[in-house]
């Protein structure tokens, strides 16, 4: 019997090594897999390469991982925010490497990895500092920049509900990067609010089919009180 549901976040990350590339879902706090990040911090893995849209907000989640100095490099589109002080301090001290990627290019590079695409041409960033040193090509009447996929060892994502085969449904804008990260990583771990019996998820509404998901951890509702 297939059962991807594990008893704890710690168990789900027990084989995550130092130096791993880890995608972390979420856009700001929406979809941020807080329980998995806490387990990652507790595990003590170091020298991580992190892929996320941001570089942490406030003092919890990804920001706490930053603060604990576990991140060697981050790929993201929007590190600088009013409450990104932990990243800001590391960056200014030269203690973290930043690869800044336009948000759509970040998403497509992740998607490409999961879809087995070797590289792709995008018009985004052509002629800007973020395309410096990159291969370009004129196709038709537009100029494009060559971009490569981003593969990961692990993807840590948050979904709303799952079954034991790993099928996932999400909630509102918490979906964001999770479906494409799930496909781009060798080992995808999803924290979910609720697990349900096989067959209870309407197959027409499954967003991430279980083939992309290795491990499920049920955390219950993790929504914080409305601000």
């Amino acid at each position: 019997m297939i059962n991807k549901i594990l008893e704890s976040a710690e168990a789900a990350l027990a084989d995550l090594p130092d130096g791993a590339t880890v995608m972390i879902g979420g856009f700001g706090n929406a979809g941020m897999p807080a329980a998995l990040i806490e387990a990652l911090i507790a595990r003590g893995s170091r020298e991580l390469t992190i892929v996320n849209n941001n570089a942490g907000n406030g003092d919890t989640g990804l920001a706490a991982l930053m603060k604990a100095k576990r991140v060697r490099k981050i790929l993201c589109s929007f590190p600088r925010q009013a409450d990104s002080w932990h990243f800001d301090a590391l960056y200014r001290a030269g203690e973290i490497e930043l690869e800044l990627v336009p948000q759509g290019t970040l998403a497509e590079r992740i998607r490409a990895a999961g879809a087995g695409i070797g590289a792709f041409f995008t018009p985004t960033a052509f002629g800007t500092d973020l395309a410096k040193g990159k291969e370009t090509r004129r196709i038709g009447d537009r100029d494009y920049v060559l971009e490569y996929p981003i593969h990961a060892d692990y993807a840590l994502i948050k979904a709303d509900r799952a079954d034991r085969w790993g099928n996932l449904v999400y909630r509102k804008t918490a979906r964001n990067f999770a479906p494409i990260m799930a496909a781009a990583a060798r080992c995808t771990v999803a924290q979910v609010r609720e697990t349900v019996e096989l067959g209870a998820l309407d197959p027409e509404t499954v967003v991430t089919p279980g083939i992309f998901v290795k491990r499920i951890v049920r955390t219950g509702a993790t929504l914080r009180k409305a601000a």
Binding site: A30, F78, P102, T124, T128
Partner: protein
């Protein structure tokens, strides 16, 4: 001369957004445009983080941490709205499905280069978000910004001195003084605020302007 305030600028932009448009509003000033779309005009707002049909801010106490816009502010979803993942969201942008992207800017050049992502300062931490995708992807890119910097320098320039977000991508500029169309032969004045002559506007603007035939 009566400079437009932020809400008047937003109202001026909103006038030009026809029913049925799919629109992405940038963070900051452009977000105000949503408040000035006339009731009953159906305009569908897109947010990069995976929403079409973004509705107004929820009432206090009704916020949902899982429902935010690209500025990470709580929003609501209109009836008919939809959620999707990030790659689909940027396929909508890059694939030229959005009618308008309305963006803020540090500078716009006479040929429509946009600079709005990075000051290039040595100590500044760069952040780009979806700006470069919106600049190349939307069918029309509208910029909203003050005409002059705090020091009184024109933000409309011959060449951007800040790092650019996209080359030749801006179609129209809305400032607190004027509305300008970016055309292959230069900038055409569509509108000026009350009491501002073409000559005075030209004096304040860093590049040569053309009178639109229909402009008063």
């Amino acid at each position: 001369m009566k400079k437009l305030d932020r809400n008047q600028m937003a109202a001026r932009v909103a006038r030009d957004i026809p029913e049925g448009s799919y629109v992405n509003l940038g963070i900051g000033l452009p977000t105000l445009v949503a408040d000035h779309l006339p009731r009953g005009r159906e305009v569908i707002l897109h947010s990069e983080n995976g929403v079409l049909g973004v509705g107004p801010r929820p009432a206090a106490g009704q916020e949902d941490e899982d429902l935010i816009n690209a500025g990470k502010e709580p929003v609501t979803l209109l009836a008919g709205g939809a959620y999707f993942h990030h790659a689909d969201s940027f396929a909508m942008i890059r694939g030229r499905h959005l009618d308008f992207a309305i963006l803020g800017a540090f500078q716009v050049s006479a040929s429509g280069d946009l600079a709005n992502w990075h000051t290039g300062g040595a100590d500044a931490i760069p952040a780009v978000g979806g700006a470069m995708d919106l600049a190349v992807g939307a069918k029309k890119v509208l910029v909203m910004m003050e005409h002059l910097t705090k020091k009184g320098e024109s933000k409309i320039v011959e060449r951007c001195t800040y790092p650019i977000t996209g080359a030749r991508c801006v179609n129209r500029i809305y400032t607190d003084l004027a509305v300008l169309d970016v055309k292959p032969d230069g900038l055409h004045v569509v509108d000026r605020v009350e009491g501002l002559s073409f000559e005075e506007l030209q004096r304040l603007t860093g590049v040569p302007l053309k009178k639109l035939a229909t402009a008063a």
